[in-house]
Every structure is written in structure tokens, then in C-alpha cells.
Point group: C2
Chain length 193, copies 2
């Protein structure tokens, strides 16, 4: 285990969110701006594991990466693992057009946090939130936040929830598990010393 | 160079098409049914190179793979490198819905043939056909064939062209280049013996 923990990403919004959430658990993370090669798979866990290994190889220091995806039921899981590409091309407008008039609005947002150290065996933490896709974009934010309304949010989208998003988001759930494991591991290490 | 040439794919339709086209050039190809790991990239050439190397490693014999993608101008290149996933999820119906009422129907179909032997340095051949996306699905076939109308096809989609598709398709263009190079290489080898 190295002294510092890095979060490898090329997405500044994501870094800010991850860094804020982790600070609640006393975990400090630095950004490593990297464009990582990702493999294609329908399984986010497989993508995240490979990405974490690649990040460790590039940085040679303990690192976490995050991969997330929005899985829309009526679109057979689209955009799923390719959420970033889909956002850059057809965007939220495209998603809303695809399910215009579709009654079933159910969707799941998944986040995978993968931690990798010199063992090159990634440790995986999964966060999952069910919700629905709105009819129009609501609230200003990034990513799919203006069209995803999580369960138990009193009818607000991620974007409309603002900073309260971090109380219940898929990313927070994954990071919470990671932080508990990571801080436990650090204190174990200190006890052993 | 090994005696036999394999085409690694999990798509039977694609194998039949490739095998038919190559037989016109006297090149015989056997199928190797493989599910290959692909990387994510906006550049089909990068995906195909890695895939060809992985295919060689899996088979230990000379191999070609094909990767293709439909790039729709008004959708910023969507579905592009993720054409297979997009077809399985939102399908042709989804594509038509996305560009319903959009005047600019331009699209490009690209095919990459990548050959790999024991050198592990893939040789790449690119075929590209410009065309337009129709308003409705026309003709029965597989993939995006019912919605892609290539230039110079007298207004017919790939699907409506039937076997004539192979006279002008993006895949044929890439395979033609490959076949000329490959047969030249084989005859060079025989001359040297």
C-alpha cells in the first residue's frame, strides 16, 4: 500500500463528486488525469477491473477508478456500459426521444469503484440505485443527472437534488463501501506496525 | 505464415458474407467461432488491431477479423464503434426514432479488416461507403442493412440490394484490398520456395 491514493479519471465533474464524498469518510484522494483504455463488455465489473489494473500500471501507485452506467429497462439496458459515448453523441435529448411515449420509464444507475494496488488484483465495490427517466430534462447538472429520478427522492432528479444527490446516489453507495473497507485496511496496517 | 486462414467472429451472417466475397478472389477462409475481448475507442482501427492480436493469441494461427460501424452525421458519429451493442438494444427502430424528422440523413459505413500472424503486428484494410439513412426499414436482412442506402445504389438499401450488396459494400471494399495483398503475399512466398 502506498501513502497516497489517486483517483484516475479524465472527468473533472466526477473527480469533484468523488473527492467530496470520500472526504466525509476521512479519505483524501488526489486526481490523476488519465485517458485509460477500456475494454468493451456488457459487464461493468469486467470493464472496471481492467481499467483499474491499467491505471495502476500507468501510475505505479494505489489508485481507484470509477465506471458507471445508466441501464434503461425498456431499451434492454441501453446505454449501459457505453453511457459516456452515448452522452457525447445523442445526449439526453436522444435518450428522451428514444423513450418518448413509452410508459415503462424504469432505469437503474450503477457505479463500480475499483481499487488496485501492486497486487494487480482489483477490489470491486458496487452501488446501485433504481429510479425512472423523466419526460423532460429537469435541473442543471452534468451527465444523465437531469433525466434520472431516483426512488425516494420526492420526485426530484439527481440534478434537482443538487448537493443532496450525494446522500443517496449510486456513486455514493459504492464509495461508502469502499471508504469503510479502505479506512479499515489502513487502521489494520497501523495496528500491525 | 500458416497454411490456413481463419476468420474469427461470433456472427454467422458476417462469416457467410466474408467467405463469399473472399472466394471471388480465390481466398479460402475457415470460421473460428470466438467471443473476443474488444477495447473501447472512437477509432475503429485501434479496436480492430487489438482484436486481431487477441484472435491470433487465442488461435495461434493466421487470422483475420472484421470490425464495422455505422457513423451517422447528425448523431455525431453514433452508433459508430458500438454499432453491435446499439443494434442489440435500441435496434433499427431506435435509430429511426432518433433521426425522425431530421433532414440531414447522411451516414458512412466503415469496415476494417485486420490480419494478424505470428509477428503480432496487424495489417489493416479499410473500406468506406457514404450513404443515407432511410425513413423506414426496407428489405429483409441483418444488421443495419434495412436502413442504410449507399450512394450509387439507385435508391436501394443494402437489404434491398440482396446479393448485389457485395458489389459495392464497405465490407467488400476492405476485403478486396485485403485479398489482393494476401494473394500477392502467398504467390511471393511460393516464388521464394
Amino acid at each position: 500500500m502506498t501513502e497516497k491514493l489517486y483517483f484516475a479519471t479524465s472527468n473533472e465533474n466526477k473527480f469533484n463528486e468523488v473527492s467530496n464524498i470520500l472526504s466525509n469518510y476521512g479519505v483524501h484522494v488526489d486526481v490523476a488525469k488519465l485517458e485509460l483504455v477500456e475494454i468493451q463488455s456488457n459487464d461493468l465489473t469486467v470493464i472496471a477491473s481492467e481499467k483499474a489494473r491499467n491505471a495502476y500500471r500507468a501510475l505505479n501507485t494505489d489508485v481507484i477508478i470509477e465506471d458507471d452506467g445508466l441501464f434503461i429497462d425498456s431499451l434492454k439496458g441501453f446505454p449501459g456500459p457505453y453511457s459516456a459515448f452515448v452522452l457525447k453523441t445523442i445526449g439526453n435529448e436522444g435518450i428522451l426521444k428514444l423513450i418518448e411515449g413509452v410508459a415503462d420509464r424504469r432505469a437503474t444507475f450503477k457505479s463500480i469503484i475499483a481499487y488496485c494496488d501492486s497486487s494487480l488484483i482489483p477490489v470491486i465495490f458496487v452501488g446501485k440505485v433504481d429510479g425512472t427517466i423523466t419526460e423532460t430534462q429537469r435541473g442543471r447538472s452534468w451527465g444523465y443527472d437531469p433525466i434520472f429520478m431516483p426512488k425516494d427522492s420526492d420526485g426530484l432528479t439527481y440534478a434537482e437534488l443538487g448537493s443532496k444527490k450525494n446522500d443517496l446516489s449510486h456513486r455514493s453507495l459504492a464509495l461508502e463501501q469502499f471508504a469503510k473497507w479502505y479506512t479499515g485496511m489502513i487502521s489494520d496496517k497501523h495496528t500491525q506496525l
